[in-house]
Amino acid sequence: MDYSSFLQMHEEFSLLGIMVFLLVYDIFAGEKAMKYFQPLALILLVIHTIYNAIPRDAFSIAGGMFEYVPMQSYVKAILNIGTIVILLQAHKFLNEETNRIKRGEFYFLIFSTLLGMYFMISSGNFLMFFIGLETASIPLTTLIAFDKYNRKSAEAGAKYILSAVFASSISVFGMSLIYGSTGTLYFSDLATLITGTPLQIMAFVFFSVGLFFKISLVPFHLWAPDVYEGSQTNITAYLSVISKGSAVFVLFTLLIKVFGHLVHQWQPILYGLAIASITVANLFAIRQQNLKRFLAFSSISQAGYILLAIISGSAMGMASLVYYVLVYMFSNLAAFGVISVIEERTGKVQISDYNGLYQTNPRLSFVLMLALFSLAGIPPFAGFFSKFFVFSAAAAQGFYVLVFIALLNTIISLYYYLLIIKAMYLNQNENPIEKVSSDWAVKLSLAFCTLGILAVGLISGIYGQISLLSFGM
């Protein structure tokens, strides 16, 4: 067998190379060299991102186990950028006395999950897909329980692993049914073999709930708020953006590539899930007092909006999906960045703690306001355009009622996003959170996200470039 074709997996190999290098560096570097560990890791990741962001020609290797299409380069680049931002935000946390020893682990685990997602995105076979999925979720559990002596963190880890295993097992059961009814697990073969027999429909439903779990759609979302609240904030950000972003893309490609014949089954399913996710999450979000839980529900409803792009199944849907994930990444990471820096310095995460934040921390308040405006979809911030594209994609396929319900929900969401802005800018507080000083890494990450929120919508080339590579049914 000729293994040289494996070298085409540039991106996977370069990430693996970085992982191994960092592992070795972490073990052998002296006290002085360890100072450079984080900057070095970040620089390597930036180079890796830039080098791999340019799409190449499509290819398929290992007998169809691994299938690359150019769009995947963009998706992986978005995941990489998000990871860089999160690592910048976690920079100070990992430099603390107690965490310094675990720093190498943190990077290794985060890169492992990223590698898992790469494989999941590029898989051409359900086995490959499953390996990718598990490679992504098991290290994630350790990251969630990173602060293992903290009861909440440990509990969140346990909840996540239990739920993830439960979801995976149902998913695997679905795959087994697929194999049982068709005799193959290769995506390319399945496209014609899946014709819509009841067994296959069952198989599809069981399989897809594994992904619904990852995307945290209602009613598979119950783990999300608890886990988000318990984990270290940077990991929460990772869960809500990177993990979710990879899963929605995979869901889209699988629905088109493999389950294209079941379109009349999956469209109603997504229809219902989208309405349920957006509405239920919105209703819960209004009640939340804890900002991390609040953002958990906000991200569930955002996932619901993404379903509008998936449901269209068109090339426009794919373009708007990737664009949505990009914008959502900037907005959500800006919000989490502010929350994490405040939580770390003061330990405060309640919305009421943020009363009068503007007086002491005008810059952080401003960034958080922009992020929330973007999440609420107010023009001219990027979030408006991403929502607009997603809605248009769904409307172009005739889902007017769905778009209308989603639009109504954006108004409800505006209400709760405004609650936070109101707390920061308008509510009075005798002793607001004192002025927090953020380090260079956080500043850099927030500046970058702000730039993204302001510019991604206005630079039209970005959407155009994405839509060049998109494909649909």
């Binding site: 346990a158 909840k159 239990l162 739920s163 439960f166 979801a167 149902i170 009841p198 429909i201 069952m202 439903v205 069981f206 709930v209 779990f213 009613p219 598979f220 119950l222 783990w223 708020p225 608890d226 089954q265 109603p268 399913i269 219902g272 239920v280 209703l283 819960f284 209004i286 009640r287 426009m316 005008p362 405006f373 107010i378 023009p379 001219p380 408006f384 355009f385 809605f391 248009s392 409307a395 209308f404 639009l407 109504l408 954006t410 108004i411 409800i412 505006l414 209400y415 405004l418 109101k422 800018y425 308008l426 509510n427 009075q428 206005l458 039209s460 959407y463 155009g464």
Partner: protein, 633 residues
């Protein structure tokens, strides 16, 4: 006319600079810079207006110029969004309105907001608002307009909530934002429908009268009404939200919680007329394809106008009187558009609406700034804390009186001319309509003079310290706007702004003019009798001149009748119920939405219990339900 780009760029730059330096500069420096930049913007706008109206008439038609237009977002092969600047008579006119009022507010605020916390922030927000509003009026396409439309909403939210230490201001800011957003939802859906079928966002293509653009709509209907009508009606709902048309007007009176100069800028002259501007922009479509919707607009406008005028009669907070008066006057503009047609004499209503928009912006800004000056002096918004102020504040008194005469429609003040054109157009449409609007105009004169007398005449209220005239920076804008109010009526508006951009000469309809002046004078007389003097004077006269006593008492008797009719019958049976309906039913419905949402979220809270077993149970149940539904339904 490439330099018009600067008109947009300068306020934006100003916002960024003032926003970034925050409190590092002295408040005075920030305020001065903000005002200077706006002076340049205003000068550029005036020059652009002069150049446009002097040199850009080709074969007797004003051109549509696009000195700047770039493709910004390519959406599909045929649909793309541009960013640009569109100059035509109405956008140039709006340039003058926005930059003039904004400049006046900038200057005035130097005095009014002196010493307030966040002075720099205030000027930064003012610049942001001015930028958004200018971008809105200069938009070349409906999508660009929508984006600036929302930006206007955001910046007005920030300005209304400026006194963030005051809970009512915060609530008002939120109410304004959410109510208008609700209306904007209609606007957005309308835009999507329109662009989906016409495959364009550009005003140029939409309003050129080219029937092929609308070919896509042929035969498409929803619930028996053509989709084009739906789209245009939805777009109007967006406009109705911003322009506070019934029943979406509820936010405007509350928005008076913001600083008074902000009310002058946003709630008198600029943002609230955005809806009128929107309808005017799309007027050719309304007229050619959906005349039914256009008539609907006229009815909504007429109802709102009357409704708000009746409420204004019973208000005691001077800013609220002005707020309801604004709603009523915007109703007039909407009526004028609604009864108008395209072209020449037929388009009288269109011209009248724009004319009234212009004159109203000036005198209403003057009224608000004058009210601000009064509030500044007596530290209260309540009418009965005022009275007799004419001795202490001569400049405010005279300028306020000029504005009142203008809004009441007394010649030769500007409001007379524009209102007269509107009434003429309404009479042409239907005599009943004309009569109704004339009646409303009479009410306007009555409540404005009730306001005027209660502030400046009547019994003097005991003040803690003697009220004094406002400083020069505040008096100057008042005088300037008063001069504009006196002379603006003589602008030959029809020669500049008309529905088809062909100048036409409009003449006063003497019958209508005399009717409206008589009605206005009658109302003013009535207000004078009721409110100019407190009842002490009659009794004094009665003892001195017993012969006249009978006459006085019989006059008193007439007074009683009037009082009975107005206070007992009209106020109790009409105004109060309408005010009640407004407070409880309209507001209640809106509040109902909010409380239902709250209730719903409380009920389903139990699901989120923290038990992993329960999560797994729900998870599995969800899977099975989905499977069952897909298989068996």
């Amino acid at each position: 006319m490439q330099y018009t780009l600067l008109i947009l760029a300068l306020p934006l730059l100003n916002f960024i600079v003032l926003g970034l330096v925050d409190s590092k500069w002295k408040p005075k420096v920030a305020g001065t810079i903000g005002t200077l930049v706006l002076t340049i913007v205003a000068a550029l706008s005036y020059y652009a207006t002069y150049e446009y109206f002097s040199f850009h008439k080709v074969n007797g038609v004003f051109e549509k110029l696009m000195p700047f237009n770039m493709e910004w977002l390519r959406f599909t092969d045929y649909l793309h969004i541009n960013l640009g600047i569109l100059l035509d008579p109405i956008s140039v006119m709006m340039l003058v309105v926005v930059s003039t009022v904004s400049l006046m507010v900038h200057i005035y605020s130097l005095g009014y907001m002196k010493g307030e916390r966040g002075f720099e922030r205030y000027y930064a927000f003012l610049s942001l608002f001015t930028f958004s509003m200018l971008g809105l009026v200069l938009a070349t396409n409906i999508f660009q307009m929508y984006i600036f439309w929302e930006l206007v909403g955001v910046s007005s939210y920030l300005l209304i909530g400026f006194y963030y230490t005051k809970p009512s201001a915060v609530a008002a800011a939120k109410k304004a934002f959410i109510v208008t957003r609700f209306a904007d939802l209609g606007f957005l859906i309308g835009i999507l429908l329109l662009s989906y079928f016409t495959k364009t966002f550009d005003f140029e293509a939409l309003t050129s009268g080219n029937a092929s653009v609308f070919a896509g709509f042929t035969g498409v209907s929803f619930m028996g009404i053509s989709v084009l009508s739906w789209a245009m009606a939805l777009i109007f709902i967006g406009g109705a939200g911003k322009s506070a048309m019934f029943p979406l007007h509820i936010w405007l009176p509350d928005a008076m919680e913001g600083p008074t100069p902000v009310s002058a800028l946003i709630h008198a002259a600029t943002m609230v007329v955005a809806g009128v501007y929107l309808v005017a922009r799309l007027f050719p479509i309304y007229d050619l394809y959906t005349p039914g919707v256009l008539h609907g607009i006229a009815y909504v406008g007429a109802f709102t106008s009357l409704f708000a005028a009746i409420i204004a009669v019973v208000q005691t907070d001077i800013k609220r009187v002005l707020a309801f008066s604004t709603i009523s006057q915007i109703g007039f503009m909407m009526v004028a558009l609604g009864v108008s047609k395209m072209g020449g004499e037929q388009g009288l209503g269109y011209m009248a609406s724009m004319f009234h928009l212009f004159t109203h912006a000036m005198f209403k800004a003057l009224l608000f700034l004058g009210a601000g000056s009064v509030i500044h002096a007596v530290h209260s918004n309540e009418m009965n804390h005022m009275g007799g102020l004419r001795k202490y504040m001569p400049i405010t008194n005279i300028t306020f009186l000029i504005a009142c005469l203008a809004i009441a429609g007394i010649p030769p003040f500007s409001g007379f001319f524009s209102k007269d054109e509107i009434l003429t157009a309404a009479f042409q449409f239907s005599p009943y309509f004309g009569a109704l609007m004339t009646f409303t105009a009479g009410l306007t004169a009555f409540y404005m003079f009730r306001l005027y007398y209660s502030i400046f005449w009547g019994k003097e209220h005991k003040h803690q310290h003697t009220p004094h005239e406002s400083p020069l920076v505040m008096a100057l804008p008042l005088v300037f706007l008063a001069l504009v109010t006196v002379f603006a009526g003589f602008i030959p508006f029809g020669e500049l702004v008309s529905s088809d951009r062909v100048p036409f000469h409009s003449e006063l309809d003497l019958t209508v003019a005399s009717i409206s002046v008589i009605v206005a004078l009658f109302s003013i007389t009535l207000a004078t009798i009721f409110y100019r003097k407190e009842s002490k004077i009659p009794s004094l006269l009665a003892t001195k001149f017993s012969g006249l006593h009978k006459a006085a008492s019989s006059r008193f008797y007439v007074d009683e009748v009037y009082l009975f009719i107005t206070k007992k019958v009209i106020f109790n049976n009409v105004s109060r119920p309408i005010a009640w309906f407004d407070r409880h039913i309209i507001d209640g419905t809106m509040n109902g939405f909010a409380s239902t949402t709250q209730w719903g979220s409380l009920k389903i809270k139990g699901v989120q219990s923290g038990q992993v077993q329960q999560y797994a149970y729900v998870f599995l149940l969800g899977t099975l339900v989905i499977a069952a539904l897909v298989l068996f339904v």
